[in-house]
Symmetry: D2
Subunit: 336 residues, 4 copies
């Protein structure tokens, strides 16, 4: 962190500033120019709030030089993190595909989809049981029963499962869920992040609709700081002014994240566009952009889905997509 | 809701569509043009998902005509809602000012600020006890102790208090808190909204960083649908590309909301800009834009605040601001 | 500007860097810390492109410390700039109101509006002659004839006039137009800015739909650098995800701009919202936010306007608004 | 277009509305429900402004059903448009790659790059001569001399050339330029679009930083309406809140555009990210997303580029990228 002092800063104020900084265990690197005086801070500045420092009377500007995340930072963990669930993997050269319905609606619906997506090559089954919905008048999921059905499908089809946790109150139900998804709306539910940091259960952390890449990494940092290294990041579209797609998939976030963090990075082509007709194209982008996987909504009857039918592809479309994904992964030197 | 059928829609598909709609208890208003057939839906369409309907094979486009919120809609509740706490009011012609520190830091800090803001004319004291922070390395509030100090200040200075609830786990601590604030990050924490709907406790619902005005009203609808009519809306800045302010205060949201809902509307000039130096100007806008109040951060020593010092104004600045607010309210025909 | 060197930067690369910087006439302030080496640049860095410097092999990060605009900067021009046209003024304590139709449609329409807005207290008449329209099938203005009508209205009602220049090709027609408006779409039409810099004609420079405050000032800098000091800035709404208003008025831009530049700052309450029903509220915000004026669309028959009827207020509404504006200006210590 | 009448609309007002609509040559499809009356408009509604109609006293809401663009609409032109320049093509199954420096800086620089990109497989050479720059203190291009050098390179290396036109004043210089680029800032320079519509010269139309997909198509419509069918669209990043990339590449715009228009669609991976290190990944996305080409900045010495060095890749990186592009095109069934 670099502090540029105000022109004409009072000596007393500068001394106070230096004392404040030393209290935080930082070394000071003081350098006096003709017209500008700069203070460089040496040490762990992740605990220093630049905006608070900027309030001190001697301070002109504060510029952060290093990233505020540490455990998620590739600088301090050069190799790729690989998240394993039994024989299935995501990251470290393996492209993982999670597929299934937005919501678990019935045994019949879930099992039919599970069978098909597994056959097509999905390595995880997704299914929502607790559904956050904008309107209080919409279907909100089968809840506990949905989780039970998901576990039943897991046993029946020997496929690990992923489901979204919307509140810590339900966490006991997720014992046999293999990957816990933290949805976009909960990306900054810090109590939830802290709690998930205390287990070893893999977490699929979705980027908030209006969260920066840095904020996503800060949220991952919460989980990592608790001791849980099994974090998968997921880009799922950000909110912009464009209305032809529900959100705007920030595909650049994939290569940017791969540079600055060692954590696996997925994309969600279903929620980002909100349109089934562009899911295959966006899914293929995930591979060539350097991503580590996909979470995609598949429904046996999109038109009668109780939730998000508009963005679900059919098992047939999914099967064709997997063929393309395999070819692209081979070209990119990835296992799928 | 209006459904425009696809050119050349199959008779069978149209019949299926009509059946589906009738199942939802809606009346059908069918009108055949030369080249286009339109179906108008009559009845309560708040429970109909336009995107799901759009998936049906006969359907070309679906256009919503009426708003998806009902209880929050001024059409069905013409007069202004007034939220009362003892002798203090917000809305219905009364401009309410909530002031206090971002975080409760100590008895001394809180009491000093409480005394001053009350003297200057604030009708509610704010103070955060559970602080959501982007970084796991930042101060996260005094928690239960913070709430206790807030209650102590309430008794000492006879001023009702407002504090943010970050998780339902802590709700028992909020018994004596007069208004529960739902922060921007929790605007779509639907479990929390449902729970708050079951009490009569006033709720200050902040707009999410990337939430539309309609989504804010849908979240209010969750609380209202549970039976709690004491909801105050708060515009606190949305995320845009501009970086000179932390967020962009959407001042237009105030007159827009006042047209379409009967609920009181406040603004938060502190979080929206993230800069103390523009808090007075934004605060005054709240009055002339037709708002019902303000929630503003005041700190006796902004530079040493443990949280959000950059956006806190001093008690002196607040006192000057209140003088201006009173003049503007008089001009606008409002009590303060 | 501060350059943080890469860890382990080669001596040769550092020497190259220093040479490159010295070539640009800058003094170097070199300071070696234990683990980080920082180079501070002293001199006029407005001509240095930080992104280009960041490409050099020795460079880790480049941080700008001072603003890239100079002539528009309040640091170097402390007093407020006042733009004068005959007896009318904008800025420097005078709140200027520009009013009139979006497009000049006919003599009768324009003269009727001109007479009314002058009577209500507008100090400038606006009227578009060349209209940029999204669709090639929309009305694009009366062009030369529109300018002629505007000049005729100026003479008839003794009121200076403002009109938008959409291309330098038409500049000869604008001889008797008192203030030339550069529209949002032309904010970065650098040829136009350079040309307008070579005259003394006042320029009303509108912020682009997705331009930052800094970019707006850089565009003003183009005009100022040419020698024309008569620049008025105008905030007119930025593009965001919200759809209930056409754009989002960034009211915070007003106090922010007033801090960092000496140029007058107006707002356009008509284009920002795109809705006549919120024009009065947004207009009043302009005063209390510290702005220097308003440009507002007034039409004698909004429903039959050929352009932007949805956002035009009637002469009666404008008259009532001016009464409020006068009261607010008095309270703020401004002439109107 | 569908008009929902106001509850309790006056008979006289409805008659006026119907007359107004008939004047525009539209047929009326009138249908009276129990509580709502709907008017459907049949005919060419591209000339009807929904916002103006919405102002009429009888009107509640106006909903557009069909797109406001016609000539660019795939509905009326099912096959893909292919833009040809001599033996080179873009669209219709051919993936076209345009490569070269941001700015033409010297004969040596340009020729060296031209030779290399041609050898690697680029089918067009790009080079800027008139450079729009945010700061008046930055390099603004070699202007006429830059165009001359570009034409010289075209002859020397037998490669067609692309350059940006920043003002109609310079159009005579572009006689031998094969494709005229309309930059993001000029996407709504309607005079320029109209003029380019009057020739047959291919136009590469870049999406504005904050323009919607629909607005991009409306701008293309301007050129098409003039009689020039050779329009190529280019997605080049939109402005969002994310700061780790200069803009946010809206990759979804590619498949969305391919559905609704017959025009070829390219992406610009250089400007969208503003970072050379992610150009290869974004470029590959262009192919799998269904795009028809790329425009990419290549510089023989990015660190010493006079403009946009940060986003230029080296000829070596470009060569590797072309190998990948060829493989992906083969997989997608495209010529390159």
């Amino acid at each position: 962190m670099i502090i540029v002092l105000k022109d004409g800063a009072q000596k007393k104020d500068v001394e106070n500033l230096v004392d404040t900084l030393k209290t935080k265990g930082l070394d000071i690197h003081y350098s006096q120019g003709e017209s500008t005086t700069i203070i460089g801070l040496i040490g762990d500045t992740t605990r220093v709030d630049p905006e608070a420092i900027a309030q001190l009377p001697a301070v002109g500007t504060v510029k952060r030089v290093s990233e505020p995340f540490k455990l998620a930072n590739r600088k301090f963990h050069v190799g790729d993190t690989e998240v394993k669930v039994g024989a299935s993997k995501i990251g470290g050269g393996t492209f993982g595909v999670i597929a299934g319905p937005c919501s678990v609606e019935s045994e019949r619906q879930l099992f039919e989809i599970a069978e098909k997506v597994k056959k097509s090559g999905a390595c995880f089954l997704r299914g929502g049981a607790f559904k956050p919905r904008t309107s209080p008048y919409s279907f909100r999921g089968l809840k506990a029963e949905g989780i039970e059905l998901l576990i039943a499908a897991k046993k029946q089809y020997k496929i690990p499962v992923v489901s979204e946790l919307t509140s810590l109150d339900y966490i006991d139900l997720y014992q046999d869920v293999d990957i816990i998804q933290v949805g976009a709306r909960n990306m900054q539910n810090f109590d939830m992040l802290l709690e998930l940091g205390h287990s070893k259960k893999p977490v699929l952390l979705k980027r908030g609709l209006s969260s920066t890449i840095e904020e996503l990494l800060m949220s991952a940092e919460y989980i990592l700081a608790g001791g849980n290294a099994n974090v998968i990041l997921c880009e799922r579209g950000i909110r912009t002014f464009e209305t032809m797609t529900r959100n705007t998939l920030d595909i650049s976030a994939v290569p940017v994240l791969k540079k600055i963090t060692h954590l696996p990075v997925m994309i969600d082509p279903s929620h980002s566009g909100g349109r089934a007709d562009i899911v295959p194209q966006l899914s293929k982008c995930a591979v060539v952009a350097g991503g580590d996987g996909l979470i995609v909504e598949v429904h046996n009857c999109p038109a009668c889905a109780l939730c998000d039918g508009a963005q679900s592809i059919t098992p047939d479309t999914f099967d064709g997509l997997m063929t393309d994904i395999r070819k692209l992964c081979e070209m990119e030197g990835k296992r799928v």
